[in-house]
Symmetry: C2
Subunit: 110 residues, 2 copies
């Protein structure tokens, strides 16, 4: 048996880990279709500013947010394209027999 690491799985695991927290999903929802600073996000949440920064770093490492520093503020935006790419890959791996997966793969393939 070939003993190689499954890169597809690794990506899917990293994506799932990044999304596996309610606070992070709240942050993702907040900056979904808009640009927000860390302060603005913190205002709308029930956790401290360092905690928000911590979660944003995790989302950044997973490629799930884009970052735009502007002066002393930093704007974060959810990377929707990345979300669809990861979900599409998960569907390809774990739901290859579903019709909708076929649809998605056709829509995502360039």
């Amino acid at each position: 048996m070939t003993k190689h690491t499954d890169l597809n799985l690794i990506d899917a695991v990293a994506f799932a880990k990044a999304m596996a927290d309610q606070t992070r999903q709240q942050i993702m929802k907040l900056c979904c279709c808009t640009r927000l600073t860390v302060s603005e996000i913190t205002e709308k949440m029930a956790v401290s500013q360092p905690t928000v920064s911590h979660h944003l770093a995790i989302l950044r490492d997973a490629g799930l947010v884009t970052i735009e520093p502007e002066g002393r503020e930093t704007y974060y935006t959810l990377n929707q394209e990345r979300v669809t790419a990861c979900c599409g890959q998960i569907m390809l791996i774990f739901a290859p027999e579903e019709k909708v997966t076929e649809t998605v793969s056709r829509a995502l393939m360039p």
Copy 2:
């Protein structure tokens, strides 16, 4: 501000938590398009049988596997439809502006 819990997020968090482990994703991949017993899964993995049972219970609680007891064996199968439903919901919540999300929502809506 309305202080209600977001049920969509809760489902999405539960799904992500269930998928946020490499061992579990390996198990999911193994029983993706086939029925496997706990023993058969354990043989193909590098962890102990109790660990496999533990992960199968987590996947079961998330609705990601179906269970068929037969005599003293138990067959597990990945629930591909559940995977697409969860991925579709995540795309609706976190990628509402992507074209592919529109496609998926149309394909998944009954």
